[in-house]
Symmetry: C2
Subunit: 481 residues, 2 copies
Amino acid sequence: MSDEKSFHMTPDEFRRHGHAVIDWIADYQARIESFPVLSQVKPGEIRAALPVNPPAQGEPFDALLKDVEKLILPGVTHWQSPNFFAYFPCNASGPGILGDLLSSGLGVQGMLWSTSPACTELETHVMDWLVDMLGLPKKFMSSSAGGGVIQDTASSAALCALLAGRERATNYVSNKKGCDGRLVAYASTQTHSSLQKAAMISGIGADNLRLIEVDQNLATRPDVLAKQIDADRRAGLTPFFVCATIGTTSSNAMDPIAAIAEVCHQHKLWLHVDAAMSGTAMLCPEFRHLQNGIELADSYNFNPHKWMFTNFDCNCFWVADRKALIQTLSILPEYLRNQATESGAVIDYRDWHIQLGRRFRSLKLWFVIRHYGIEGLQHHIRQHVQLAQQFAEWVRNDARFELAAPAPLNLVCFRHKAGDAANQTIMDRLNRGGDLFLTHTKLNGKLTLRLSVGQTHTQARHVENAWKRIREEAREFATAG
Amino acid sequence: MSDEKSFHMTPDEFRRHGHAVIDWIADYQARIESFPVLSQVKPGEIRAALPVNPPAQGEPFDALLKDVEKLILPGVTHWQSPNFFAYFPCNASGPGILGDLLSSGLGVQGMLWSTSPACTELETHVMDWLVDMLGLPKKFMSSSAGGGVIQDTASSAALCALLAGRERATNYVSNKKGCDGRLVAYASTQTHSSLQKAAMISGIGADNLRLIEVDQNLATRPDVLAKQIDADRRAGLTPFFVCATIGTTSSNAMDPIAAIAEVCHQHKLWLHVDAAMSGTAMLCPEFRHLQNGIELADSYNFNPHKWMFTNFDCNCFWVADRKALIQTLSILPEYLRNQATESGAVIDYRDWHIQLGRRFRSLKLWFVIRHYGIEGLQHHIRQHVQLAQQFAEWVRNDARFELAAPAPLNLVCFRHKAGDAANQTIMDRLNRGGDLFLTHTKLNGKLTLRLSVGQTHTQARHVENAWKRIREEAREFATAG
């Protein structure tokens, strides 16, 4: 039965088809500005073009690639277009894509050190590098009592932080006995919705996540936080966890980390700091004042898959006390036991997150850091911030528009003064037009447009064109304003 | 500031470096049998060769690829080697890798339908295809009240199932109010450890996950389950969830789904069925008797990233009642609101799992299904099962060895009769020798070797050689047995 019939792609076929896919992506990058940024298809249109039944026999690879072009591409919203200004960036880059491709090719599982030592050790190494690169406290380094791990998303990292805080507060009992409904966590009205989701998942309950009032800059008010904690304590509840944000999703608001940390310290609460997008800015020393107080945090995370040219998924999560995290998430069935683990000399990252299996994600991060160097990363981050600041300046100088929030980095929240309906119309027309894609939020009850600069290839001409197109679509509202 | 200085890889550079990476992977595939399957490095060895500090300036791409070869490869355990018989397979394939590469190249986020309609619609389509391909009940199709979603791992899927069950049992109140420590879930002593982790994470508590006794085949005993549920009810607790397994991790034991479902139905418990590896076998009608009763399950999952040639991560999770899942996990902040979502005409997969962000994972699954066709997938699954059955036959016919559990599919649990120490020695020598990699478990208190057949390129000669090497390393124990 040796050398039996095979349907597999041979290495030589892989080489040929692989080159074709690489070429397709290179061509896609070169022509990306020719597509409408936001897909213009209607619900059900993509599915309607797909065959109802799965194929009984295999098909040639060329047919697959043709169908990507013909059937899939019209349904793609082009997150990698330099005219993508919506949500947050989820930027990618050549070295990121190729590092991830190598990870697919090696196809290893990094759940235990022993299941692929390089997968664990490169991850630890790169996470230590990033502590230096971002000006984070030494207590997050693997040589201290803390350490870092790559997670999939900030949502998962927030959940892990909440769980570690929950367990520390209950002396690692709620893991075993279940929650008792008396634990209380704190975030702000502007904190990312994943905190609410984490409170739901963890058995804390969404009602036990207090959403603290913010100031005029949309930043958490530490005084209100302190009062709420006192009130909850008096009511016999158990405050245990606070999430502060460096750069909120909605408006890029900056919470005062040091002041919040002081409250947490007083009350012995776990402080998690979420810097999902804006953490990348800390590559540049001139922005690090925005993370003042970070040395007092128990955990911290940012997403290289947002603004640091590393394709999704790649979240970096650090804790100051790795024992608290491991004790929260560790399980060790017999079939995973091995000498390296028993020796205690290695990290087994399966104990650091929700999942068991894990991909070799540090490869792409390593590739990105080495391709750009600190210099290259800093250059492009500064460029993005400069472009956003230029845009904010244009808004400030146009009497029909106003800024809706401070713009400390690369996100500009602005609106036409003619009101919600006008802003909705402007946005819908821009997005239907296809030249660019931007999204909205609500700030102080008013519909607000968001221009988020961070796609890898966004340059001055793209932001200039965005401003031109915005003014064009706003023309009819000019006098009404 | 147009066309400013750039550190980015151009499309042409991407093409050139991309071809080099593809060639590296093709070469890696061609020479993979020349490496020791289990990495032979010592803890710290890989890190010690990496520069202490991150690079200030960027480096040429060729240097990166050279370092993968020189610094990383020695620390890789070769999961894609046809001589990998450890744990479970985590197999990959050409079409899987290239589909994933396209996903990296497109770099879209599929959190909402509108953020890339093709990402959502292809996923729904392929998940519906798989319902047919695996002989699953129609209630899991998107045209019914249920539906499927791609998750990262079976751990996350199990957690989502547990949460949906928790919420249904509490009338969607524990999401808001938190858990009360009275909810009880059920699995068996052989259920995957992720269920324990899910009980910890969800605030249920590990002590409230009852591990039901198994029969001589290591399958859950429905009578013991029913008795335990009765006892818990009498104690004033709230049974709400059962996890049954088609092919346990440790020994590939098959739980009697129909009998367990009957107990669940009587007591109105959520039944989740985990078929992480063995679900792939259901591509072949002759194995579907192993999932008898699946039409009574509330949720079900298997991992194409284990045995179905689709590289990690790719878990397929279905529910019979999608409203229960969505009501459990849904949150909708203003900045994610959009017309398509409000219309109710589309699926927004962010409400179907823990994370918010999501990759275009259906591309690789679509590529795999179309490349192989049902015929090709069936061929290779049957081949793996046949190889494992052949190995089991060799064990049965060798007086020094014995089978430690039934081998219904592609996993053979066996041991040398000379006892635990001998089996440990045999395994350690085999794994140090590098010709193959296998792992162990404990069954009925005895150390047991596991030969898991499922790597994409494993053929008869690899299994033959494994058996030859096992007997060689066992030679000294031959007379002692």
